[in-house]
C-alpha cells in the first residue's frame, strides 16, 4: 500500500445508510471494513465490491460509495468477482457473502474461487440463518441449534473455514462481529494478502437467530469466543508497536512486504499448518467454541492472475494496437488450410 494514509478522509469510505435491522452484526462488519480501508489508505475509487443475494449482500452499498459495486445473483458473487479481477488486476476486490449465499446455493463457486486463489477478500457474514426470507436454517447452522420457531436443526454444520482451507484458500480467518479490534486487524491483513483471503465472521441475526438455543446468537458467540491470537497489523513503513513483548510475537510477512503479528494467547498455534488448522476447527465444532483468529495462512501459492500469467496492464485497457495480431496470421492460416 503505497498511498499515504492522509490522502483520504474516513468519509471517503462511507456508503449509504444501512437498511438492515437495528443492531445487526453485519453493520459492525461494515464499520470494520470502512475503518480498515481508511487505516490502509486505499484509494476508494479503485475498490470494487461485489456480493450475491441476502442481507449480507446488501452491505456493499453501506461502504465506499466512491467504488464500483455489483450486487449480482444469489450465490454467484465468486464468479463475477473472478471475472472482474482477471479483467482488471489492479482493482482491490472485496466480495461480501452470507452463509446461505456461500454455504448453500453458492457453495460450488465459493470452493472454486478458493481453489483458484482469486486475489480478493471474501467476507462471509455468517449468522446461520436465512434472514431475508425470515428465518430458515442455513447450511452453517449448527447441528441441534434451534430456529426461531423452536425446531432443532437435524443436519451437521458446514464449516466455511474448513471448506476454504481444504479447497486451497491461502488466507483463512474467523472472527466475530462483536470483536471490532480483531476484525480490523484481520481485515487489514486480508486486504494486503495476494490471493484469496476468506474471513468467516460470525454475525448474529438480531431478528431471527439471536435467541437461546442458537449457537450463532450474540450471547453465545460472546461467551464462547476463544481468540487464537491477539492480532496486530503493521504496515511495512512502521515499526512494530512497543507494547508487545518479545517472545510473544509471531510475525508473518505478507506479499506486499507488510507484516501481520500474532500474539499468542494460551497455545502455540501455527497458521501455516493445514492439518493443525483443520484439527482446530473440528475441535471447535465439537466443543462448540469459536476459535477466532487467523486459522490458516499460505503466502507462497500464486494468486489466480499469476497462475493465468496475465500481463501487468489491465486487460480492460488493452486497445487495438496491443491486441490486433495483424494480417500475417490470417495469411498463414489461409495458406495452411488447403
Amino acid at each position: 500500500m503505497s498511498e499515504t494514509k492522509l490522502a483520504y478522509q474516513k468519509s471517503d469510505y462511507t456508503g449509504k445508510p444501512s437498511t438492515l435491522c437495528k443492531g445487526c452484526g453485519h453493520d459492525s462488519i461494515t464499520n470494520a471494513i470502512i475503518e480498515s480501508y481508511f487505516q490502509l489508505g486505499v484509494n476508494p475509487s479503485s475498490v470494487i465490491k461485489l456480493s450475491g443475494i441476502g442481507c449480507s449482500s446488501k452491505t456493499p452499498t453501506y461502504f465506499i460509495d466512491k467504488g464500483h459495486g455489483f450486487n449480482s445473483v444469489h450465490g454467484r458473487m465468486p464468479s463475477v468477482a473472478t471475472g472482474a479481477n482477471v479483467a482488471n488486476l489492479k482493482l482491490p476486490t472485496i466480495g461480501i457473502s452470507g452463509d446461505g449465499d456461500t454455504g448453500s446455493i453458492g457453495l460450488g463457486q465459493f470452493l472454486h474461487c478458493a481453489r483458484r486463489n482469486v486475489d480478493m477478500v471474501y467476507i462471509i457474514e455468517n449468522n446461520g440463518t436465512y434472514g431475508l426470507t425470515k428465518g430458515q436454517f442455513s447450511a452453517t447452522a449448527d447441528l441441534g441449534s434451534k430456529a426461531k420457531r423452536g425446531a432443532a436443526n437435524p443436519y451437521p454444520t458446514l464449516d466455511a473455514c474448513a471448506l476454504a482451507i481444504d479447497s486451497g484458500a491461502t488466507f483463512v480467518a474467523r472472527s466475530f462481529s462483536g470483536d471490532r479490534k480483531q476484525m480490523i486487524a484481520l481485515m487489514k491483513a486480508a486486504f494486503s494478502h495476494k490471493g484469496i483471503a476468506v474471513l468467516d465472521i460470525i454475525s448474529p441475526c438480531v431478528t431471527f437467530n439471536n435467541h437461546e438455543g442458537s449457537t450463532k446468537s450474540y450471547l453465545f458467540a460472546k461467551e464462547n469466543d476463544v481468540p487464537l491470537h491477539e492480532l496486530n497489523y503493521v504496515p511495512e513503513a512502521e515499526t512494530i508497536e512497543v507494547e508487545m513483548k518479545e517472545g510473544e510475537v509471531r510475525s508473518i510477512e505478507l506479499h506486499d512486504g507488510s507484516h501481520l503479528t500474532l500474539k499468542k494467547l494460551d497455545k502455540d498455534y501455527n497458521p501455516g499448518d493445514k492439518g493443525e488448522a483443520l484439527k482446530l476447527i473440528n475441535e471447535s465444532i465439537a466443543s462448540k467454541t469459536l476459535a477466532t483468529g487467523l486459522l490458516y495462512y499460505q503466502p507462497d501459492f500464486p494468486d489466480h492472475n499469476t497462475i493465468l500469467n496475465i500481463c501487468s496492464t489491465p486487460l480492460v485497457y488493452l486497445n487495438e494496437a496491443e491486441l490486433d495480431p495483424g494480417p500475417d496470421p490470417i495469411a498463414k492460416l489461409n495458406a495452411s488450410m488447403k
Partner: protein, 592 residues
C-alpha cells in the same frame, strides 16, 4: 459407359475411435486439392470409442456444402451397421465393404449394385507397423477409392505428408498402408460403376476450416480478452481453438498473456465470469450449447437488466435435455431470444459460413459494448464442427467500438451523470469502468430495481421508465443489425426465409427449382430490421425453413412482426443430421 463426374455422394461407415477420421480427412482434403467441389460431414456418436460413425463426402460441380439424402457409394467398414447401411442404399449403387468381417446375404444385394469386397483383416497382416495396425487399416479404402475413382496419387501422398508433418515414421506407415489398398484394388477390382473424380478448379482461393475455429479466430481479432467456458459438445473446440490462438498471438514481450482463459466449474460460473469481466470493461465471452444457456439464464437476465456487455456463443445441438448431443439443430432460437425470467430480449447473430463465423464473431463484441447487453452468436454443430470449404478469410484492420464509456476526462465534462440516464434518447446510457479515478465515477450495479442514477428503488414509475428505455434501446439495435440477404426477383410472390446453416440447402433448392416466383431472404440477426417486414409484406406466402420442431424463428417473426401470421408456413427438419436440399425441395413442392 456413361460417366458421372464429380457429382455424387459417398458414405463411409466405420467404428468411432478407430482412426477413420484421419483417413476420411485425407480423402476429403485430396479432393479439395484436386479442385473438386467437395463437402464433408461427420455423423458421429456421443462416445469416445466403439459406437458407429459415418462420414459423408458429397462432390458437386457447384461445390455445395450440404449433403444429398441418398448416397451413391457406401464404404462399409463397420459390421454392426453394415446390414442397415446396405438396406438404405438404392439399387444401382456401389458397395465397398470389409469382406472378412461383413457377409451380405444375396437378398440384401439390390439389382445393379456394384460390390467391391475388401479383405481388410487379411490385408492388415501385411502392415509392418504393428503398433498402428488398427489405425492404418483405414487407409485401405482410401487406396481403393484412389484406384477406382481417380484420386491423384501425388496429391494423396502430399496430403498424407502434410497431415503428419515431421513425423516420418507415421508418414511411411500411412503410405505403406495406402499402397496395400492401392495394389489390392488394382489387382482385384474391375471398375463397373460410373462414378469418377476429375481434377477441376472450383477451389481456387478457398480454404477448409471448421466454423468453431473461424469463430475463435474472429473472437481473437474482435479483441476478446476474457474467455470463461465449460466444456460441452459441440462448443468445446471453439474455446480450445481460441485458447490456441491466444497462446500463439497474444503474448507480450515478457511472455505474459494479453488475455485470460478460464475453464469454469460449470456454465453458471462461466456466465458469471463473463459478466464480471464485461462489467469491469473487458471484451469477454463464453462458449456453450443449449444446456449451458439454460444454466446461464439467470445471469443472462442480470446482464440484460444491469446492462453488462457480454458475448454468448451458442453452438447448438439437439435438445431437449441431453437430447442428441453430437447432432445438429437450430433449436435454441427462442431460448436465446428471451433467455431469463422477466421481460428480457436479446440480440442474436446467425452466421451461415466460415467467413461469417470469422466476421460476425468480431462484430458481436462491438454490438455487446455498443448496446451494453448480452449478444448471442448462434451457430450449430454442423457449422461449428464440420470441415467447410469457403473462400479465404480476409483481414480488416480492427476498430473496436467500445460504446458509451466515460473516463475521467469525460466525467469532468459532464455536469450530471447517471448510469441509466438516457442522454442521447437512443436508450443507450453512459457507463464508467470500475477503477475510474474520479469522485463521481462510481455507480452501483444491481439486478434489483434501480433508477436513472443506479440507486435502489421499488418505485413503479422508475421501474417502468427503465423497462421502457430498455425497449428503446432494443429499437435502436434493430436499425443497426446486419440486414437480411435477398436472392430472387423483387416481384416474386413466394418467399423463403432461412438462417444459419439452413442457407446452404435453400440456395441449392433455388438452383434446382429455377422458379422465378420464389425469392429468398436469409436472416442474419435478431431483432429484425425493417427489411424483414418489407420482405414478408411483399410475398403472398412465406415459408420459414428451419431445423427445429416448433418453427421457432417463425414464432419469433409472428410475434415481432405482427399482421402476417396467415401467410406464414414452415418447412421443418429436426432429425439431427444436416439439412438437405432434397428435403426442402420435396416439402416445398408438396406445399405449393
Amino acid at each position: 459407359m456413361d460417366k458421372i463426374v464429380n457429382d455424387f455422394s459417398i458414405r463411409v461407415a466405420t467404428v468411432n475411435g478407430t482412426g477413420s477420421q484421419s483417413s476420411n480427412n485425407i480423402l476429403f482434403k485430396s479432393l479439395f486439392r484436386m479442385g473438386v467441389g467437395a463437402c464433408g460431414k461427420n455423423m458421429f456418436p456421443s462416445n469416445i470409442q466403439g459406437l458407429p460413425t459415418w462420414f459423408q463426402i458429397r462432390v458437386s460441380p457447384q461445390g455445395y456444402q450440404c449433403l444429398r439424402e441418398n448416397d451413391d457409394i457406401a464404404i462399409l467398414m463397420n459390421a454392426v451397421t453394415a446390414h442397415d447401411d446396405i438396406a438404405s442404399m438404392r439399387p444401382g449403387t456401389t458397395i465397398m465393404y470389409s469382406s472378412d468381417t461383413i457377409k451380405f446375404r444375396d437378398d440384401e444385394i439390390k439389382p445393379g449394385m456394384v460390390m467391391y469386397p475388401l479383405p481388410v483383416e487379411e490385408l492388415a497382416k501385411k502392415i509392418t507397423n504393428v503398433k498402428l495396425k488398427q489405425l492404418l487399416k483405414n487407409l485401405f479404402y482410401v487406396g481403393a477409392v484412389q484406384v477406382l475413382y481417380g484420386l491423384d496419387e501425388s496429391i494423396v501422398e502430399g496430403v498424407i505428408r502434410d497431415t503428419f508433418k515431421s513425423k516420418q515414421a507415421a508418414i511411411d506407415a500411412n503410405l505403406e498402408a495406402l499402397k496395400i489398398g492401392v495394389d489390392y484394388a488394382k489387382e482385384h477390382f474391375k471398375k463397373t460403376d460410373k462414378f469418377v473424380f476429375e481434377k477441376g478448379n472450383v477451389n481456387n482461393g478457398k480454404i477448409i476450416m471448421e466454423g468453431n475455429a473461424a469463430a475463435a479466430l474472429g473472437s481473437l481479432y474482435g479483441g476478446c480478452t476474457v474467455l470463461a467456458w465449460y466444456p460441452i459438445t459441440p462448443s468445446s473446440s471453439l474455446a480450445e481453438s481460441l485458447i490456441g490462438y491466444f497462446e500463439k498471438y497474444r503474448k507480450d514481450k515478457d511472455g505474459k498473456g494479453k488475455y485470460a482463459a478460464i475453464q469454469a466449474e460449470d456454465e453458471l460460473s462461466s456466465a458469471g465470469m463473463v459478466i464480471g469481466a464485461g462489467w469491469a470493461g473487458a471484451r469477454s465471452m463464453t462458449t456453450t450449447s443449449g444446456p449451458g444457456i439454460s444454466l446461464m439464464s439467470e445471469f443472462i437476465g442480470l446482464a440484460y437488466y444491469a446492462e453488462v456487455p457480454s458475448v454468448f456463443m451458442n453452438v447448438q445441438r439437439v435438445g431437449p435435455s441431453t437430447g442428441l448431443p453430437t447432432r445438429t439443430q437450430q433449436c435454441d432460437t427462442l431460448l436465446c431470444a428471451f433467455a431469463s425470467h422477466g421481460d428480457t430480449k436479446h440480440i442474436m447473430l446467425f452466421p451461415s459460413t466460415i467467413n461469417e463465423c470469422f466476421e460476425m464473431a468480431q462484430e458481436t463484441f462491438n454490438l455487446a459494448e455498443r448496446f451494453q447487453t448480452p449478444v448471442f452468436f448462434m451457430t450449430d454443430l454442423d457449422l461449428g464442427m464440420n470441415n467447410w470449404v469457403d473462400k479465404e478469410l480476409t483481414y480488416t484492420k480492427p476498430k473496436y467500438d467500445r460504446g458509451k464509456v466515460l473516463d475521467k476526462e469525460g466525467l469532468d465534462k459532464v455536469k450530471d451523470w447517471g448510469r441509466y440516464l438516457d442522454v442521447d434518447k437512443d436508450g443507450i446510457c453512459y457507463r464508467t469502468l470500475p477503477g475510474t479515478d474520479h469522485p463521481k465515477g462510481a455507480y452501483f450495479t444491481r439486478g434489483s430495481g434501480h433508477d436513472e442514477y443506479a440507486r435502489y428503488t421499488e418505485s413503479p414509475l422508475a421501474y417502468t421508465r427503465n423497462m421502457d428505455r430498455l425497449n428503446r434501446k432494443f429499437d435502436t439495435a434493430k436499425k443497426e443489425m446486419p440486414k437480411g440477404i435477398v436472392r430472387g426477383e423483387a416481384g416474386a410472390k413466394i418467399g423463403l426465409i432461412a438462417y444459419g446453416t439452413s442457407d446452404h440447402p435453400v440456395q441449392e433448392t433455388l438452383d434446382r427449382m429455377k422458379n422465378p416466383n420464389i425469392k429468398y431472404m436469409r436472416l442474419r440477426a435478431f431483432p429484425f430490421g425493417e427489411d424483414v417486414e418489407a420482405f414478408i409484406k411483399s410475398c403472398d406466402k412465406v415459408f420459414i425453413v428451419e431445423q427445429n420442431r416448433d418453427g421457432q424463428m417463425r414464432q419469433l417473426l409472428e410475434t415481432q412482426i405482427r399482421g402476417y401470421q396467415d401467410k406464414m408456413d414452415s418447412i421443418l427438419y429436426y432429425g439431427g443430421f444436416p439439412l438437405s436440399a432434397d428435403f426442402i425441395e420435396r416439402t416445398l413442392k408438396g406445399k405449393l
